[in-house]
Subunit: 430 residues, 2 copies
């Protein structure tokens, strides 16, 4: 990287910005008024219109090819270009937006307040896979069902994952219609039909796939990081009562497919580079991963230290102008498998990954109260309600509740970066 870890931008509100200082430069698809969606980069509270910067002739070579690939309102073709084009674009953006930029006058008119823009899904999502790599979540949920044996025998060998529904992934800000479905009420032997009564959130990291692989080929773990385009936050909204009744024997289905919400900015691997760290040591006695999952560089540098937060804002809290209630403070260090291991595992059978595929990490809980990434864990399946400053209590989510996910990367001597919000409000069932 040719930028200082503390370099400043001439876009003043970017300096010290909680999410989008000069060091982040996440890409997304935005639109203004009646404009067609196009690629932009977040800088402070503004969005720089990259198509307009391209039209102004300020990109050359690989950076130019990168922005050309964003045309059409989706980043898939850009993701397909891989790391070198992405790095070239980043380096050019650091020049253009850095405090010594000679292009300030040219760029100022191409910078729009984010509050005046609408953010869209950054890519057409081909396939969406949800993993289960948050080991504390797996233990917490396992304990509710199997107190003596919370983790299944395969957990420490297999990066467990399953296919999710791609058609209902939506960007932050999309309302969440409470789903209806079949549930088996406690003590009954026949199911009932009606609105979900145990609506929950799940705090996850989202991973965007860059370059793909041909069907029949595999991506070795040592090369897997090259196939990752970036990251986002993901709320895997879950209808716990529907899930409990439907999930045997083939896994969750309608309990998850009504909507999943993502933060719209693609935080690149380059922006997260300073926040990489060693994979947390496996506890004494844990098995070694099989060779196809094992790479020394990945073990030394394949994890991320990203602080994750979940906030709840109820209707009454909004009326009383109370601050949002923090439900979860967690971290991506609770991932038992790295994102490279997830890519290697997913493709080891020859499954084709494609640019714009999305992975979810699975719920990322810590081991302690206050760190749990879902209400299922926090309330112990609805037995221990959360008390709010508004005088309300919550076992699960109610209509009007809003859930906000945030993420923050911090390290001494380096500018902090964040992911922006992943937000959704519950609407009453139809």
């Amino acid at each position: 990287m040719n930028q200082s870890a503390l370099a400043r931008s001439w876009v003043e509100h970017a300096n010290g910005h909680g999410d989008f200082p000069l060091q982040n430069l996440p890409l997304g698809i935005f639109s203004r008024k009646d404009q067609a969606p196009r690629c932009g980069v977040a800088i402070g509270d503004a969005i720089l219109d990259l198509e307009a910067v391209l039209a102004a002739g300020l990109f050359d070579g690989q950076a130019r090819a990168a922005v050309e690939a964003t045309r059409g309102g989706a980043l898939n073709a850009f993701f397909a270009l891989g790391r070198s084009a992405r790095v070239a674009l980043r380096e050019r953006l650091l020049e253009l937006l850095g405090e010594h930029s000679e292009y300030q006058a040219a760029l100022k008119p191409l910078l729009y307040p984010a509050s005046e823009c609408q953010l869209h899904l950054p890519a057409r999502i081909g396939d969406y896979t949800d993993f289960y790599v948050g080991i504390e979540h797996a233990k917490n949920v396992g304990k509710l069902f199997r107190p003596d044996n919370p983790l299944l025998p395969n957990y420490k060998h297999v990066p467990i994952g399953y296919h999710g529904r791609a058609s209902t992934i939506r960007p932050s800000g999309t309302d969440v219609r409470r789903p209806k479905g079949q549930t088996l009420p406690a003590g009954q032997s026949e199911p009932s039909f009606g609105p979900c009564a145990r609506l929950d959130y799940e705090l996850e990291l989202g991973i965007w796939i860059g370059q793909g692989n041909d069907m029949g080929d595999s991506i070795p773990v040592a090369e897997a990081a090259e196939h990752i385009a970036g990251f986002c936050l993901l709320n895997d909204w879950s209808a716990r009562d529907i899930q409990a009744w439907e999930y045997q024997p083939l896994g969750p289905f309608l309990s998850k497919s009504f909507i999943s919400t993502i933060s719209p900015w693609v935080v690149t691997a380059e922006a997260l580079e300073p926040f990489r760290c060693a994979q947390p040591a496996r506890p004494e006695g844990d098995p070694q991963p099989l060779p196809y999952l094992l790479d020394k560089r990945d073990q030394a540098n394949g994890a991320f230290d990203i602080e994750l937060e979940v906030l709840l804002l109820t209707e009454r809290m909004r009326e009383q102008k109370l601050p949002a209630h923090r439900l979860t403070l967690s971290n991506t260090l609770s991932m038992y498998w790295t994102v490279a291991q997830m890519v290697a595992h997913h493709s080891v059978n020859g499954c084709q990954l494609q640019p714009g595929d999305l992975f979810g990490s699975g719920t990322l809980s810590g081991a302690q109260p206050g760190q749990f990434g879902s209400l299922l864990e926090i309330t112990q399946g609805g037995k221990e309600p959360v008390e709010l400053a508004s005088g309300e209590v919550r076992k699960f989510l109610e209509d009007g509740d809003e859930i906000i996910l945030r993420a923050r990367c911090k390290r001494d001597g380096v500018a902090s970066i964040g992911f922006g919000e992943c937000r959704g409000k519950i609407l009453a069932a139809h």
Copy 2:
């Protein structure tokens, strides 16, 4: 329908054709030599180039709009038009290809031998959902694991389904690379990695979604048939050893995602109309479906009587010029839920279905030996090998083995129709 159920075509080889007589008229995407893929209709052993027929000015009104929507080498936009455009196209094709057609001279040059054409996937598949509605298969498999209680408590209430992998669905004729993966060898406590040793097929009906629904809305069961564009055969290749180790708690993943094969012709709901029948009566004591799954017309006419067949051809059988060995003779009447019930269930939570989504029925086995839709069932998990005329035996599939699915609809007084083949040959693991 304005055609007689026994009407003949001037395309002589279509009359009495096992799959594609005048009454079928399935649509697909084909290409010749270096031509771009385009829409065609199968008639006997030939394919009529619908884009060329359009260019010749032989379509008008809704039929014209239907063919225009097939441009670009995928049927998604055509599927989105729904039933009336599809029926208009069918009626015009019955005129053009019927024995009294005045357009024979104009059409003959636009008719190509199918053997000279390549068939492609008929649509871009957004999401692929695999159901589990073959109740005899569910019982047969359940018995292997739970002899006293083969069906789980939700089976007769919920049309069980799960999300599958869309990126690796391929048309008939695509080779199947034996997948590698983790398995837990019998008697071991640590998994091994290597080529799948228990490779299997699964005989399924595929269902193409036509018009979709908005996220948050549901498709009532009484309207669900309107949202189905057509049908195909689907081989849900399965790696049983990988599946057994990975599938807890979230369902099958890499054991299925290496490839799924479909027959490339979309057999329309109109072609299958004469083969509709009442949903088989639920056995005494089975629960009534919940109201959102219940429609009188669907119960009276929502099932299909389609005979399904699976053939095995080994390398040695090809060398010895032996005929293929029939592994399975089954029928879609073993479906416990109708396709309308599958659509209604899938969307009842507000999940968005989109034109070109694909459903699999799940394996369609009968209750008797000879009717089992997978080797897992036929060989009782590998315990009772199949003996072949070549002197070989099979517990599971070996390299060089070819599996061929076929389907046939027969009724007195009506021309039989078929689906064409769904074929795939196993290649050795990389």
